[in-house]
């Protein structure tokens, strides 16, 4: 999937959970969900579940383990979509 499209979709997914507007407005590949967006870790589970729903994929815990940044999430989504 095209990078910009994917980032835009991820941005919509994380929006309800962010606690730092500025970091959200500047969201890029390098944005960290916890350090930058201040998403609380229980809501990070919601982010993962939302990603599964939106992209119709299943994320195993071994993959979830790495999903702490936008870049890592993009890599895993692309990997799962390619395997479909």
């Amino acid at each position: 999937m095209e990078k910009e499209v994917l980032i835009a979709q991820l941005k919509t997914i994380v929006q309800p959970y962010i606690q730092d507007e500025e970091a959200f407005n500047n969201l890029s590949e390098n944005t960290d969900f916890v350090k930058d967006l201040k998403i609380n870790s229980a809501n990070l589970v919601d982010v993962i579940l939302d990603v599964e729903e939106v992209f119709d994929i299943f994320i195993e815990n071994a993959d979830m383990e790495k999903m702490i940044s936008v870049k890592a999430a993009m890599d895993i989504i692309n990997e799962k979509l390619a395997a479909k």
């Binding site: 606690q19 730092d20 916890v34 350090k35 201040k38 609380n40 870790s41 229980a42 809501n43 990070l44 589970v45 919601d46 993962i48 579940l49 599964e52 815990n61 071994a62 979830m64 383990e65 790495k66 999903m67 702490i68």
Partner: protein, 205 residues
Amino acid sequence: MIGNDVVDLKVAALESNWMRPGFLDKVFSEEEQEVILNSENKSQMVWLFWSMKEAAYKIYVQQCGLRIFNPKKLRCERLSENKGLVHFNGYKYATKSEITTDFINTWAYLETSVNALIHCFKITDSLYKTQSLAARQKLLKSFSEIKKVSEVDLEIRSRKNNVPRLFYKGYEQRDSFSIAHHGFYGAYAISFLLPILNFNTQPLC
């Protein structure tokens, strides 16, 4: 080393729907899910286990410097109403929790006997920035009182892996501590190295 976590139970009920399909399975082992589903107060058990995992994870990051997101891998064992163990990657973390109808404050520690100071407090504002600042200020005040130095000489800085460290006159200290805040509650836990009044005045490698 010490780690902590606090959960505002009322805010958690609004923010997180643990009954959402898939949620429990992403976070808890089958055994943990069984304990949760068989307990009288399921929400309280969810957040008790969650805070145990989170507090233990915060020690793991201090030990290994590695951040991961896989709460299911941290296995909770209950020893009593408010005491437990968390098993992860060959480590065993002991936990204690303060459980009320409003919040759960859990701290985890590695050593069998720690000189720990635990404090949980209410914050009137639930804004992230206000909370974070309030919790850090309270922690610095506590450090300055116990170590008998001026707050001006103390500072908290976060390392790259998000682990906060205490600095005295610009020098990093070895004392382990942990800060948490959620909803309208803040908490910190400090594990002091003895003697408490000693300071490191050399760069740590």
